[in-house]
């Protein structure tokens, strides 16, 4: 890394100023260096490298704070390991905060004090982002979203063609020529979003969700202008870009005059919009926002869709996406859904808010320079899956699907990976009187 200039340092240190509440100060001052969080992190568990313990990630951010914002750090920096913000520190920060953390938040739950470690990692990433030091691979994903409206730069005509193709699939599947994938229709109840991985690599998941909407008789639409549920600027730590991306989806709700925004199966996308976007924009939602998981659970509860409990005979397990579950509060809905129709459902150990990350979160799937490390830490998830004896792994997140597919091949697990909508669509009992 080249030498830092004064302006970069000033911008980096900005994160410790303009505090809006006591959260940052609290967590920067709380770690007691007990080291007891090590075993809660997949990076440490898989590699046994001390530098990957969550405490080290906390400390590198807190040490800079101590250097510039505490009396001891200013006059006796060696006593409390208060570090200058310089090339050496930022190199280490990039490696630890971008390259060795999926921002899964598991360590936070288990910290002996209650330090929000993942939050401090995000603060550290924001420092680096302010200094223009986000890994180029991750930044290019953000740039694609900012410049083209979706993080995979899918041209609109290609997207529309994919939707047309999926509509034909849907018509065949439900055997009803009236079935459709509505596009840019104003005044519908639901505006549905997608993870760009769907039109790009897994288009059948679009028709799966369309089939569920069809069976429920839902009034819904997709937008060709803004359908991307992801927000990689949440991972890069750039609040301005995160705000811009969130604002587009927010505005599209107004443009199409929809009542409810349904967030596609994407852990970080759900989190970034449901929980972070109102704070990026400093506004309360003027519309309802829910995840597709909640939407499907509601359809079942309200009797709008019916599932065939005889259809799926496989042993099925569930992977909990960290941002949807541990940091998003969607813990029971997916279990409620699966328990309706899966006879052989087995939980992983641990699961729910205690789950292990698949290893693809935090933007890791974008940062190819850390691929080897990403597959190394994935052995924790591979072991968990193998121990369930399941042949199908369901997860309500397309990023997790991507990582789990790679785990499946790499560790020769021989399982099938499905989204929740896909497995629900497989078991749908279609009412012939559906519209």
């Amino acid at each position: 890394m080249g030498e830092l200039n004064k302006e970069q340092i000033r911008k980096g240190l900005q994160v410790f100023q303009n505090l809006s509440d006591s959260k940052l100060i609290t967590h920067l001052n709380s770690c007691v260096h007990c080291g007891l969080c090590a075993e809660s992190c997949i990076y440490y568990l898989a590699t046994k490298e001390n530098r990957f313990t969550p405490a080290r990630k906390v400390d590198i951010v807190a040490s800079i704070y101590r250097r510039y914002h505490t009396i001891t750090g200013k006059f006796l920096p060696g006593l409390i390991n208060a570090r200058e913000l310089n090339e050496e520190t930022t190199d280490e920060m990039v490696d630890l905060l971008f390259g060795a953390c999926t921002m899964c938040g598991r360590c936070t739950m288990h910290c002996s004090i209650g330090v929000d470690i993942e939050y401090l990692v995000r603060v550290g990433r924001t420092m680096l982002s302010n200094m223009g030091m986000v890994p180029a691979t991750l930044q290019s994903t953000v740039n694609a979203a900012v410049e083209t409206g979706n993080n995979m730069s899918i041209p609109n005509d290609e997207f529309i063609a994919t939707l047309k193709w999926m509509e034909e699939e849907l018509i065949d599947e439900v055997n009803n020529p009236n079935a459709k994938i509505p596009v840019n229709e104003s005044g519908k109840r639901i505006l549905y979003t997608l993870n760009p991985r769907e039109p790009k690599f897994f288009p059948l998941s679009i028709s799966a969700m369309a089939k569920i909407f069809f069976a429920a008789g839902e009034s819904w639409t997709l937008s060709t202008q803004m359908y991307d549920v992801t927000n990689y600027a949440y991972f890069s730590g750039n609040p301005d870009e995160a705000r811009l991306i969130a604002l587009r989806l927010w505005n599209e709700m107004g443009n199409l005059n929809a009542q409810t925004l349904v967030l596609a199966e994407c852990g970080h996308g759900s989190r970034a919009f449901r929980w972070e976007a109102p704070n990026y924009l400093q506004e309360h939602f003027p519309f309802e926002v829910k995840t597709s998981v909640e939407c499907i659970a509601d359809y079942i509860r309200e009797g709008k869709i019916h599932l065939d409990p005889e259809k799926i005979k496989d042993v099925v397990t569930l992977h909990d996406p960290c941002n949807l579950v541990r940091s998003g509060g969607i813990i029971h809905e997916q279990r409620y859904i699966l328990n309706r129709f899966i006879a052989n459902f087995v939980e992983m150990t641990p699961h729910g808010i205690d789950n292990y990350c698949c290893g693809g979160g935090g933007g890791q799937l974008s940062m190819s320079e850390y691929n080897e490390r990403r597959m190394k830490i994935a052995e924790i998830k591979a072991r968990q899956i193998r121990n369930t004896g399941a042949s199908v792994v369901v997860t309500p997140c397309h990023n997790c699907v991507d990582q789990l597919n790679q785990i499946n091949v790499f560790f020769k697990l021989g399982v099938r990976i499905k989204t929740l909508a896909e497995i629900v669509a497989d078991a749908l009992i279609l009412d012939t009187e559906s519209p």
């Binding site: 006591s22 080290r56 929980w275």
Partner: protein, 214 residues
Amino acid sequence: MYWYHWITLGSLGICFANSLVHFLRLIRLGKPMDYSSPAGKIIPSIQYSFTGAMNPVKKESAFLHLPTYFAGIIYHLGTFLSILMFFLIWSDLPLQDILIYSIVSFLLISFSCGIGILIKRLLKKGLRDLSNPDDYLSNLLVTGFQLMTGIVLLWNQAYPAYFILSSLLLLYFPLSKLKHAIYFFAARYHLGFFFGWRGIWPPKKLERNGGWEN
């Protein structure tokens, strides 16, 4: 009052004023302003953050490290007891022998726990790499304070040394990691706020019929 009382009183004042600055800053900065719509309740979650979430069965930092966990608990109890004794010693309140011997016995155990934690920090590479001089000094001052409390309870010739050590500890407190005594409560509060707002804490149980209960 002897000269060492005056030194300790001064140190206590400085410690209190500094700690108050930290505390008032937390209060001034206030609670988070979250624009998202809450999915749960804050108060029960904050209560849970200080109770159920601290249950050693729930935390890997506890159940994967039981000897350290229990040593830490005893060590902290020893510290609280020593602080209580500090005021009793200062006020010269007479204590029954049986009480003195019980307290000294407990302080000996908590002192050993402190030394054990220090030795672990020195011996384990991962912990050593994470540590800075403050981690050792903070431990030494607090562990020494517990030892001196026990000694002074048995032998009042140790008063000057006891009060000098207490003064050092009081002066060092706001400059070091010892101030986690203040920030710990704020951290648990913020964690409770975060997980409560998002409906994650307190945990809900999944019922067979698909509803949830608290």
